[in-house]
Subunit: 208 residues, 4 copies
Amino acid sequence: MKGQRGGRPRDSRVDHNILQATRELIDEVGYPALTVDQVAAHAGVGKAAIYRRYASKAEMAFVATMHEQPLPPLAGTGSLHGDLLALVRTFHVRMAAPAARQLAPALISELAVNPELNTRFQDTFLAAEQAAFAEIIEQAVARGELAGTIDPAMAHLLLLGSLASALYILNLPVDDPMVTDLAAAATAGITALADRHHGDPGEAAEPR
Amino acid sequence: MKGQRGGRPRDSRVDHNILQATRELIDEVGYPALTVDQVAAHAGVGKAAIYRRYASKAEMAFVATMHEQPLPPLAGTGSLHGDLLALVRTFHVRMAAPAARQLAPALISELAVNPELNTRFQDTFLAAEQAAFAEIIEQAVARGELAGTIDPAMAHLLLLGSLASALYILNLPVDDPMVTDLAAAATAGITALADRHHGDPGEAAEPR
Amino acid sequence: MKGQRGGRPRDSRVDHNILQATRELIDEVGYPALTVDQVAAHAGVGKAAIYRRYASKAEMAFVATMHEQPLPPLAGTGSLHGDLLALVRTFHVRMAAPAARQLAPALISELAVNPELNTRFQDTFLAAEQAAFAEIIEQAVARGELAGTIDPAMAHLLLLGSLASALYILNLPVDDPMVTDLAAAATAGITALADRHHGDPGEAAEPR
Amino acid sequence: MKGQRGGRPRDSRVDHNILQATRELIDEVGYPALTVDQVAAHAGVGKAAIYRRYASKAEMAFVATMHEQPLPPLAGTGSLHGDLLALVRTFHVRMAAPAARQLAPALISELAVNPELNTRFQDTFLAAEQAAFAEIIEQAVARGELAGTIDPAMAHLLLLGSLASALYILNLPVDDPMVTDLAAAATAGITALADRHHGDPGEAAEPR
DNA sequence: GAATAAACGAGACGGTACGTCGCGTCTTAAG
DNA sequence: CTTAAGACGCGACGTACCGTCTCGTTTATTC
């Protein structure tokens, strides 16, 4: 390994202080007004210590706010719709928090421009979310609720993609009835796709 | 009127050159690397001429790339699913174009921060899109395909929100089969919500 | 010329404020502790306005403190020694001032590294000083005090080079008796060189 | 002794490597562009090993390039002028070397700011130089060439101060004829001052 | 036609954050 | 206690871009 032969090791207090200061300042002033100098000063840390760890302000903020926030355990309500509703409610609380609403749009523009950060986002945050969908779908298949399986990424997209668009692109207020509707629509959509991929040829899904 | 008492009128060649240069430069270097000075130089125009027309770089880029691109006429395929599929295919072509993929993430972060631009975005671009959904839903209700009506904004969100997330947040490649799946899922979701709001208790076709 | 076709002209108040602020801050904190941000803030000016005018902090300080400070008229005492003594006393006052003692060493290290600045220094400041020596020598020759002429640059070096070394390299205190000695020695040296270049072969200047 | 109570003794190869690397790098990139990290890497040494020996980058460079270069034995030509000429020629070779021309200006600015280094410079390097002048003057007095004695520091200043100014402040090329002139002028100046301090009224060696 | 008034190209302006760099110090593990 | 490696706090640097502001000039409309 490279990091261990000689040399002063990274000080974990510095790691912690940087992330803590980042979180506090995002809460106080919002992401766009966040400056690296501010973070350094508030954390009692030099700017070099920050840039030694993160390639940009955006990566720092991403790690501070989104990375390794463990998902809560799944509800296990016994039905696909119940599971999805519980899941989307959990995410809604998280995604609609003021800090997230400020950070997400900026992060989105950064992901488009910063491949390393995008990879990191895909591999950690997103993968954890999709794993939750995979488990819910698996259970529904086992229960016989779904005729076939379905790509968890598609399920994730149908439910949380719509929610993310509403929150971060359209900047709409999202209340609980709306979340409920999203869960219902996603359940129907997932069911339809599971039927379809199972062999049903009806492209146009014509009734009857 | 304000624009009419004396003075030299705006030069329409300037309008055109600004927008043209903006489009070309976004294609070349992407929105984030776009600078107003660059646009001015490339258009053979002073910066003041730009700021006389647009309040910010983001508004300029928005107008140059998204505004007043008239929606094509609806397909009128005779079924809800057919109409939605035609619509999402049209949008997919537009939204997945390189210029759009570069601009959209930056625009998203700007909308979150710039209320005037957000209002403008909602009132023009978004309203036109939702009107298309309203018409499709209306026709489906008239045909008896839908048990009740449904908020066009929700329909828009289910179909295009998912697509936008895939393209602009997750930066995924999106191919036609995926678009087809999205249309199928949205059709099912819209149908379920229409049933639900009409009074029918069968949420996700739950037994009992 | 380039500076006049179109464009907002440089604001002379900005020029003045920058130089004024530079002078004040050098007096307050000394040159080494001077920062460009300080100057910008104190002058009510953006940093870009400074860097548009000067390539570096050192050039700014040079222009602010040394450039175009007109030489006082020559004394015209009627003798070479008297003229040189008057001249060196004038320079001593100027060169031993605290601001000069702080700036000069830093400027010296900058001149060695910055050819543009060196050229500017040679052509303006130094040339004016040497012109004064040229005139004094010319008058001495006219009076018959000197057997031949002598390069003013050499005369300048003999008198002010020694003084500059004492002040800026050796950091010695220099009092008036010492200045007087320098003038006496320079007078003798100039006289000897004038004899020598006039044809006298006595390399070793052996007495009589 | 302090260096003797237990522990690992200093490695003399480290001393040598540091100074050697410093000299090589100054030759390559010049003093201002020299960094301590560079020296450490090039010498295969930690930065701490450098700062345990020298208080600053400037002191390190000073020791590496100027310190303990023993003066060559004096020429003993039998005349004041001959001795001074031999001396200045020796110094000229040394002072005009590329490494010296690069280091000196930076050292000058450091001496002005760093009293410890200045003291060290005065007590070692400068004192040795002035001792040489003292001996030359003493011999000249003994030979009867000088009417009285003269402060060796003043003699040093007249000859080498001028030379240093030419080389390090004015950045002039200095050739042998110019060195010869400096020696002649210094001889005349020293002679005049010796007369003057001896009681002779002839200020500028007024013609007898 | 002369006067008015706004738009024009050019580019300087204040402000602000960025990311880099170097210094001199400190902290490891190894010897 | 010294070593090599390298992280640390600090703080200045020079760059970049934004959106505004002045110039002197051009171009319609209104008297």
